[in-house]
Every structure is written in C-alpha cells, then in structure tokens.
Symmetry: D2
C-alpha cells in the first residue's frame, strides 16, 4: 500500500445551509490528497500532464458517516492499495482531528489517456515509482 496524509480546514464556502460541508466538496478534497500523494512519490500530477497523460475520473463513491463543519480541522488519508493497469483506484478516509472520528470514506477510479485522449496504460516510470514505494 502507498499512503499519504494531509490536513486542512473546512472552508466557509464549502458549507451549505444545513450548516455542514456540502458532500460534493469531498471529491475536491480527495483530489488534493491525490496531488500530495503524487508529489510525495516524486511524480507530481503536473509532470503527468506535461508528459501528455491525463487522468480523468471514471468512477467515484463516498459514504458520509458524520458531518464536517466550517473550520473543522480534517485529516485525509489517501491510499493506493493495488498497482494500477489501465486504471488506478484510490481509497480515502477523512477523520476529524479533534475527535478522531471517521467522517467519510471514499473511492475514486481514474483512467490514463494519451494525447489523443485514448485510453492507455499507466506510464512505465509512474508504475516503477509506485512499485518501489509499495509496502
């Protein structure tokens, strides 16, 4: 498994009139988790796009156990549990730092597209990076 943890606070703009963070924001947070996981691996997503590979989302899911509120300090754990082939799946767990409670669990699957926007395999260098960091 490859794992990354980031911490961030819920923004005011992310709340809705129910007084909680709107569920759609969790996918933006997961994206931040992917960004930092890839930076930590030494293979930032900006480099992926520079090499002509796009990673569009093909599949997402999220379960919400408890609400997040404005200014809550959250921890997001981003995990790659399996080496990718044509697609890569990441798993996410969001906890509230103050209480340790798990607020949500998510999963996203991304494809790899080449410059013609056709499905392609994950770049060999990226796979090697994942392999050498896999524990």
């Amino acid at each position: 498994m490859i794992e990354n943890r980031i911490r961030f606070r819920v923004r005011y703009v992310e709340t809705d009139q129910m007084g909680i963070a709107h569920h759609s924001n969790y996918f933006a947070w997961f994206e931040c988790g992917r960004t930092e996981l890839m930076r930590d691996l030494g293979y930032p997503y900006t480099q992926m796009e520079k090499e002509g590979i796009l990673m569009p989302i093909v599949n997402v899911a999220c379960k919400y156990f408890r609400p997040a509120h404005y200014d809550d300090l959250l921890e997001l754990r981003t995990m790659v549990k399996e080496l990718p082939r044509a697609r890569i799946t990441l798993n996410y767990i969001i906890t509230k730092v103050e209480t340790g409670e798990i607020l949500a669990e998510g999963e996203t699957t991304l494809a790899f597209l080449n410059e013609k926007r056709r499905p392609t395999r994950a770049p060999e260098k990226f796979l090697n990076t994942l392999r050498s960091n896999f524990k």
Copy 2:
C-alpha cells in the same frame, strides 16, 4: 417509479483544465434534479426544511462514461425507484441532448433528520405524495 427530467448547460466555472466538466459538479446537478422532482410532486424541498426535516446525503456514487464540455446541453433524469423508509435512494442518468449519449449514471442516498438532527422516518405526507405519484 417517479421520474423527472431537467435540461441545463455546463457552466464555464464547472470545467477544469482537462477541458471537461469536473466530476464533483455532477453531484450539484443531481441536487438540482432532486429539487425539481420534489417541486413537481408538489412537495418542494424548501417545504421539507420548513417542516423541520433535513435530508443530508449519506451515500453517493457516480460512473462517468464520457466527458461533458462547456456549454453542452445536458438532460438529467432523476428517478425514485423505491418508496423510502428511513432513507431515500435516487438514481440519475445524464445524457448529452445533441447526441443522445449517456455521459454518466449516479446514485445518492439521503437520510431524514428531525429538528434535533436525529434520524427519523420520512414524513407521512411526503410518503403519501410519493405513493400517489408512483407508477
């Protein structure tokens, strides 16, 4: 089944640097579908909240088959396939009007919370409205 259809265009702000609508926006669109489905039933969501019932999201999923682009005219079909008890599940299909292609399919499950934010059953009036419109 209860069904509603709305049409809308992809906003510029909803695109990302991949040149497509960001996946998180689909959940905002699904919410618009729920809003219009409930208005059509004569039981708008604003009334639900006035009666002290909140309907937070507990579960979402979406599969993305093809990208949506800025200014694309989309049709969203929102469906209730089963009468709710403690929770209500809605299903969604998004098609591109110009081509008829299905772009995405989603599902969301919502709970009912009372004024103390404790889980409660769907209001009887709401259930009756659903029952009398179920086909």
Copy 3:
C-alpha cells in the same frame, strides 16, 4: 447597449451556513449571463475559443444589497454599455423574480488573448456583431 436576460434558481450547493447564496457564486452566474448574451448575438463564446481567442477576467466587482436564498428564482440582466477595444466591460443586475427586488449589481472586465496568450484586440467579426446589435 446590448442586453440579455436569463432566469435561474439558486442551487442548494450555492448556499452557505449563513443560509444564503455564497457571494462567489454571483461571478459564476455572471458568466452564464455572458454565455447567453453571446449566444443570442449569434457569436457563442465556444466559437470565440475555437477561433483561438481567450477572454480572461481582469477585473470584477459586485455589490450585494439583499441575500439570495436556495430555490429563489432570480433574473440576471447582462449589459454591454460600450463597444470594446482591448477589453470589454459587462454590467449585471440580479433581481428576485418574486418580489422584483434588486439583490446585487456587478461588473466584470475581460481581456482578449490570442493563441500565444498575448493581449489582442477584439476580433473584427465580434465587433461588427456588437455594432450591428447596439441600440
């Protein structure tokens, strides 16, 4: 002056915990107004980008007089008051349809960039379109 009017409802995701539409959304709405104004002129913004011209924002302002709430039906009036040269300025007025109250007034200025992302003049065809529709 060139003018366009659109109507839309405030989305749930656009509200914040104050129970009103978050102020940042007004700029997304203004963008929808620009999109429809240009479509009405027969020169949709998608065509502008296809011709290699980007129109980034250089300047925005908005005054908020009264809040907008979830599901409020709003009318947005988008106006071009002067023919553009290097830049184009648009003005906006948002009213609540039910009451006729003015909720907000905004202004945005956009530049024209060529394919090298250098400032350029507005395309001649676009200027002619504006001129022939100016009243």
Copy 4:
C-alpha cells in the same frame, strides 16, 4: 494595520478550461485569509457566529494581473487597514511564492448582523481585539 499571511496550493477543481484558476475562487481564498486572520487575533469567526453575529459580504472587488495555475503555491496577505464601525473592509494581495509576482489584489467589505439579521455595530470585544493588535 493588522495583517495575516497564509500559503496554499491551487486545487485542480479550481482550474477552468482556460487552464487557470477560475476568478471566482479568489473570493473563497480571501475568506480563508479572513478565517486565519481572526483565528490569529484570538477571535475566530466561529466564535463570532456563536455570539449571534453574522458577517455577510456587502461589497467585493478584485483585479487579476497574472493567472494562477494548478498546484501553484500562493501566498495570500490579508489586511485590515482601518478599524471597523458598521462595516469592516479587508484588503488582499495574492503572490506566487516561486516568483514573488503579484497575481491579484482584492477588497471585501462585510457588515455585522445581529440575531434578527439587522445591521449592528461590530461587537465591542472584537473592536478591542482589533485595537490592541493594530500597528
């Protein structure tokens, strides 16, 4: 003057198909700046709302000099230049950390509303906090 600085990275979701951060996000970032400025003063905005005071936006403006891109590390400087009375004005400067370039300058004015959502003066405790930190 009272001043606060925060650093953050541009999120992928914040980009648009022009390949730059969409202008509406700057107002969400300014809000983060306000949040951290108030936390640093020992008077977090969450406390303000707990005391029954809301601070809605009445006026915003922003000038965009250069674009921000995905994953850019930005620094936001949030400033209170004058002690508030019925309203408080904050100024913002966003720079790109890597180059030191100023990307944007903004201003927001907020009102103070009491529990009946009527305009009120800034709470005396908040004013005292500002006064004792003013340099």
